[in-house]
Amino acid sequence: MKLDIRYFAWLRERVGTASEQIETEAATVADLIAELRARDEGYAYAFSDTGSIRAAIDQDLVEMDAPLDGAREVAFFPPMTGG
């Protein structure tokens, strides 16, 4: 399936791009992270501490075991620091 991936804050800086489109068969967010981490050293570094990574599917915050079924966009970012 085709997925738009977006990165924010230091995750964006470490990955080196704000967004990309990928082709994946990953079943869950965690599977997708494992796939991205395996790509190269930059991604491995960006996703090294999964405890510090939050994900949203189609703009809704989700847990790491959330299924990607039906998703169009997945966003990854560090814990939020608004307010």
């Binding site: 804050a9 230091w10 703009q59 809704d60 966003a75 970012f77 560090p78 814990p79 608004g82 307010g83």
Partner: protein, 153 residues
């Protein structure tokens, strides 16, 4: 009345916002506001605070948080305003305001908005000084602050 949820780069006047909010509310005797102001950092050399956000998701998250607070605390009204982009020390960053019949609800509603907004709305702060830039780390206390709302269920 102005939009109850706003995400903008433009500065805002917290006093004017409070007045506009209070004027639009009827029948609520209690109005609470919270304003967040860019603090200088320990080293005292903050030049710019850059706020990044996730356009689209931000508005959606804030509207959902507001709706939850309105219902849970029986609010007559609630507003959330948050800036993004480059801010200077002492600049107002954001503001929430709540109105309710009783002060306990207005206070609790505003704290709830703040706790959710801090950890669940997609904003990220970066502090820029002469010696470089650093992303602000999330504080564990902010997650703890959220937990009390689920406990009270």
């Amino acid at each position: 009345m102005s939009e109850p949820v706003r995400v903008q780069t433009a500065p805002f006047d917290m006093g004017a916002e409070l007045n506009a909010f209070a004027a639009s509310v009827t029948g609520a005797g209690a109005v609470v506001s919270f304003s967040g102001i860019t603090r200088d950092i320990a080293t005292g050399d903050l030049e710019v605070m850059e706020i990044e956000h996730f356009p689209g998701m931000t508005e959606k998250a804030l509207a959902a948080i507001r709706a939850q607070a309105m219902e849970r605390f029986n609010l007559a009204d609630a507003m959330i305003l948050h800036r993004y982009g480059p801010l200077k020390p002492a600049d107002p960053i954001m503001m929430v305001a709540t109105a309710a019949r009783h002060r306990g609800d207005a206070f609790a509603g505003a704290e709830f908005l703040m706790d959710y907004l801090k950890s669940r709305a997609p904003f990220w702060k970066k502090e820029v000084t002469a010696s470089g830039a650093a992303w602000v780390e999330a504080r564990p206390e902010d997650e703890d602050a959220l937990a009390r709302w689920t406990r009270r269920g």
